[in-house]
């Protein structure tokens, strides 16, 4: 491509840009989106991503069911969502165009792989005529690019099989987009050579396709301008781009290090939680033991067994897995051992929408066990914040010897954002003190160990691990007497123990942060109360409403059980309370029951997150009501 003469193309500046890559499941759209994101991150933009892919690994080629999409917003300022409507849609085939066009803003840019728009594919996508020719895209700016043809052409002398060459067309698309939006090329070229260092031909094909995409933009005279999104003015520091599952995995390692307790993960593969198992299984040098169990129940049981042995026992799963683990979590409530149960929520019930996001397992976390079985609950609210949520959940589990449920969801798990890396020395010291000797003197002066004799401050029982001389003891799921831990079926004792287990969780409210409230804290007409992954969309929507002069506050709850001590006062402070949730109003029900306020629910249970625009309109609606 060295003989082409560069054209003079103008550059226009954008404050923000939302690109949606869409193609067949086998087209590598997640990879393409991820690379565009990484290059943007290294360039210094703020960004947020939304990967959306089907549950089938390879749904029938060319069908609507097989469309995989990746949306990213990049900006020159602080953003919290992957954007409402994309400005640009890259469609690798007719099915992708048909399925994704509705997302695009009117007047937006459509870039298609023209080679894929043949009759067979059009039919599969349900088109009766070619949308590239029949005028149905007149409201958009359409660019038809023969991506497959050019990619095959530039690869033909490399010795790559034609089929492999064709597979590189996603890198052509990435190259074109990188040129059009002034993304740096080097990070992508470096990534290709590192990733495919043992498959030189594939590295060569991808590199050639990527460069051809950039060259095509420059020479094809289709594009009059390139666009630029300047770096964002973020807080000073070292940044990396991270998704929720990676941040969460690293948070578990951090917790293990700060507690000086080895990490044990018992897990059974389930979407969208498996990546935590994958990440931690690569971290054996941190002393992390990972165990892929025979089922969800064995996974949590093994974690609990490891906790009995003095490890931080963790199990990762999604809602269906939590349902199977319920009995063991109940056992952990009774045993009063540390256990971290991580639910990366997905659409339900049953198999539901495995690859789509939802936050409808709050009531399951609160009450999804038999008997009075209280469990502290922590919820993560952004991809990078999963790191801190994991540390906090582990802190509570270790300090109070209790199972803790940590809620994330598919959107946080797979979505990514720039993360200002913390100074690890500032992370909390969570050093665990194990029991080392007797804690009770019998009437006859004998020194004995009572496994349920509590710390008066934390109400936590001692953690005496096997191997410690003098502390042999038996624990079990049968009701026990406080103090001695001996089996006790007495009515009064059971009543006492039930209340004690409830009280000790309630008392943890003294040891969790107060509610974070932003916006018009003093004089808002409306409080938007959220939890979990709605944080980004709420933050953005509240910002828009306030920029219009509305008085709105935003409180986001990270501890769902117990609730922060000041939450009751906060929800009563404002005339109106709106609770957006990715479920049918589960948290809102808790708020109404706990605090007797007329909180109103805003629900979305469609497998995709709220957009800021949707919430903005709900906020205005509630204020005008």
């Amino acid at each position: 491509m060295t003989d082409t003469v560069p054209r003079t193309v103008g550059t226009r500046e954008l404050n923000r840009l939302v690109v949606r890559f869409a193609g067949d499941s086998g087209d590598g759209m997640q990879l393409t989106g991820d690379r565009f994101t990484s290059a943007s991150a290294l360039f210094g933009n703020d960004l947020a991503t939304l990967p959306e892919f089907p549950a089938e690994i390879r749904a029938p080629q060319g069908t609507l069911a097989g469309v995989s999409a990746f949306q990213v917003q990049v900006s020159d300022h602080d953003i919290t969502t992957p954007g409402d409507a994309p400005n640009v849609l890259v469609a690798m085939n007719p099915a992708a165009l048909r399925k994704e066009l509705a997302h695009l803003e009117i007047g937006g840019t459509v870039i298609v792989n023209q080679d894929a728009f043949v009759e067979r594919n059009l039919t599969k996508a349900g088109y009766e005529s070619d949308p590239l020719e029949d005028g149905s895209l007149d409201n958009y700016t359409l660019f038809k690019v023969p991506m497959t043809t050019i990619t095959k052409e530039v690869c033909k002398d490399l010795g790559v099989k034609p089929r492999d060459a064709e597979r590189s067309k996603n890198f052509f698309a990435l190259g074109l987009l990188s040129w059009l939006y002034s993304r740096p090329a080097q990070p992508t070229l470096d990534w290709i050579s590192a990733k495919f260092k043992r498959q030189q031909l594939i590295a060569d094909a991808n590199t050639a396709a990527f460069k051809a995409g950039m060259a095509f933009g420059e020479t094809a005279e289709l594009f009059d301008f390139t666009y630029e999104v300047k770096p964002a003015s973020l807080s000073p520091g070292t940044y990396t781009n991270v998704n929720g599952n990676t941040a969460l995995s690293w948070g578990l390692i951090a917790a293990s290090q700060r507690a000086k307790v080895p990490l044990f993960l018992g897990s059974y593969p389930i979407t969208p939680a498996s990546d935590v198992l994958h990440e931690l299984s690569q971290r054996k040098n941190f002393g992390v033991r990972t165990f892929q169990a025979e089922d969800e129940i064995a996974a949590v049981c093994a974690a609990l067994g490891a906790s009995f042995g003095g490890h931080l026992g963790v199990t990762t799963t999604s809602g269906p897995g939590v349902a199977l683990k319920g009995e063991t979590i109940g056992l952990a409530v009774s045993l009063e051992l540390p256990l971290l149960v991580i639910n990366i929520q997905r659409g339900g019930p049953s198999t539901g929408l495995p690859t789509k996001t939802e936050s409808a397992d709050l009531m399951q976390a609160m009450y999804g066990r038999h008997g009075e079985s209280p469990v502290p609950i922590v919820a993560a609210y952004s991809p990078s914040q999963c790191f801190f949520a994991a540390i906090e959940a582990a802190r509570i589990a270790l300090k109070y010897r209790t199972p803790v449920i940590l809620l994330s969801d598919g959107y946080l798990a797979n979505g990514s954002e720039p993360w200002c890396l913390p100074d690890v020395s500032t992370l909390p010291d969570m050093t665990v003190e194990f029991a080392t000797g007797p804690n009770h003197t019998e009437d006859d002066g004998t020194e004995v160990f009572w496994p349920y004799l509590r710390d008066p401050q934390t109400m936590a029982r001692p953690w005496a691990v096997p191997g410690t001389p003098g502390l042999t003891h038996r624990i079990g799921g049968i009701e026990k007497e406080d103090g001695t831990g001996n089996i006790n079926y007495e009515a009064d004792n059971h009543g006492y123990m039930v209340r004690l287990r409830e009280d000790r969780v309630a008392h943890m409210a003294n040891d969790i942060p107060l509610t974070m409230v932003d916006g018009d804290v003093e004089d808002a007409d409306l409080l938007v109360l959220g939890w979990g992954s709605t944080w980004g969309a709420i933050t953005s929507a509240v910002g828009r409403a306030r920029s219009e002069g509305r008085k709105v506050a935003h409180a986001h709850v990270t501890h769902l059980n117990p609730l922060p001590k000041d939450l009751g006062e906060i929800v009563r402070r404002y005339p109106k309370v709106l609770v957006p949730e990715m479920n049918l109003g589960q948290f809102c029900r808790i708020i109404r029951a706990e605090f007797l306020v007329d909180a109103q629910s805003v629900c979305k249970v469609e497998g995709v997150p709220f957009t800021a625009a949707e919430l903005h309109s709900h906020i205005n609606g509630a204020l005008d009501d």
């Binding site: 992390v288 067994g305 042995g309 624990i475 799921g477």
Partner: protein, 338 residues
């Protein structure tokens, strides 16, 4: 480990009142274990008994060791986590036929195939005791119980066959009427580096009394129990007149030694890699009414799971050095904002 203090049965006995029915076979098993422990080279604090739910699963409460009474069927899973986290411990799993072959069958299979270093004692009484007398996965076809008034139509499991089929490395059988044999088998299980499975024929005198009487009563044992001894031709009978051969179809068969001659008898080889002969022996008896082999069916050492997991950790630390959290957070492309 010469510094393990001398102990007696009393040291291994907890202060808890034993709550099994009077006359239950579990008492004699408990005694055998409590008598054995002082003879093993282990400390009480390094010993853990883990159980699920059922009569047998109360066992840990009565041992003055560390113990966990878990939930129904999950003892092998709880114990797997413990054994992986703490390969230094001596972990025993105790459960009944309902616990380990019905609700927890899956966990038993996987603990055996992984070869986790556990001593698994399955108390088989062919009945549900704690729920008061329903048929179990080892009950015979036709068994009339509270839940099978017209007789059970379930084909029972043969626990030894199940264990061998699950790739178990160590498989043995004993019975609650012979303390010394139980102690021998439990000792072998303890000494075996991997998952050791021991089926114990155990009498439930309330709901299934005498289930094994036809083979375990003192006057029946010589003719009905076939002692498997490594390296010895398999013989039994009042006058050792019976023996076991592998017939041309590959099945084990009881014969009169006089008919075939001693040289035709199967010589027991517990260390044989191929499990076919051990499996054939497990099929010799259709139930506790025919001559039934007891002893060690199979003891074949192979890589132990927790040890292999620990090796991978050690190797990772050797290759990349101990984990550095700061470095991990910076392990992907980073950029500076000033």
């Amino acid at each position: 480990m010469t510094d393990v203090p001398t102990t007696t049965k009393a040291d291994w006995t907890s202060d808890q009142e034993v709550r099994w029915c009077p006359g239950c076979g579990d008492y004699s098993i408990l005694t055998a274990v409590q008598l054995l422990m002082p003879e093993l080279d282990v400390r009480r604090e390094d010993t853990v008994f883990v159980s699920g739910i059922g009569c047998a699963a109360r066992f840990p409460y009565y041992m003055n060791t560390y113990g966990m009474h878990g939930i129904h069927g999950r003892a092998p899973a709880l114990a797997t986590g413990l054994a992986m986290a703490r390969p230094d411990l001596d972990v025993w799993v105790v459960g009944g036929d309902g616990d380990m072959l019905s609700i927890g069958g899956n966990h038993l299979l996987h603990a055996l195939r992984r070869n986790v270093n556990l001593n698994i004692l399955l108390f088989n009484n062919q009945i549900y005791g704690l729920t008061k007398g329903q048929y179990s996965p080892t009950s015979e076809i036709g068994k009339v119980t509270k839940s099978t008034p017209a007789g059970s139509i379930d084909e029972p499991f043969n626990p030894i066959s199940v264990a061998i089929g699950a790739e178990a490395s160590f498989v043995a059988r004993t019975h609650d009427m012979d303390r010394q044999h139980m102690m021998d088998m439990f000792r072998r299980a303890h000494d075996f580096p991997g998952a050791a499975f021991v089926e114990v024929f155990q009498n439930c005198n309330v709901f299934n009394d005498g289930a094994f009487g036809a083979i375990t009563k003192k006057d029946k044992r010589a003719s009905m129990l076939i002692h498997l001894e490594h390296g010895q031709p398999i013989r039994f009978g009042e006058d050792n007149e019976k023996g076991v051969v592998i017939n041309p179809q590959g099945s084990a068969e009881v014969v009169d030694v006089a008919d075939v001659g001693e040289s035709a008898l199967l010589v027991h080889d517990e260390a044989r890699q191929d499990p076919s002969l051990a499996f054939a022996l497990s099929r010799l008896s259709a139930g506790p009414f025919e001559p039934t082999p007891i002893g060690v069916y199979r003891a074949v050492e192979r890589a132990e799971y927790a040890g292999e997991a620990s090796k991978q950790l050690a190797m990772a630390q050797e290759q990349t050095g101990p984990g550095d959290l700061e470095a991990l957070l910076h392990s992907r492309p980073t950029w500076e904002v000033s």
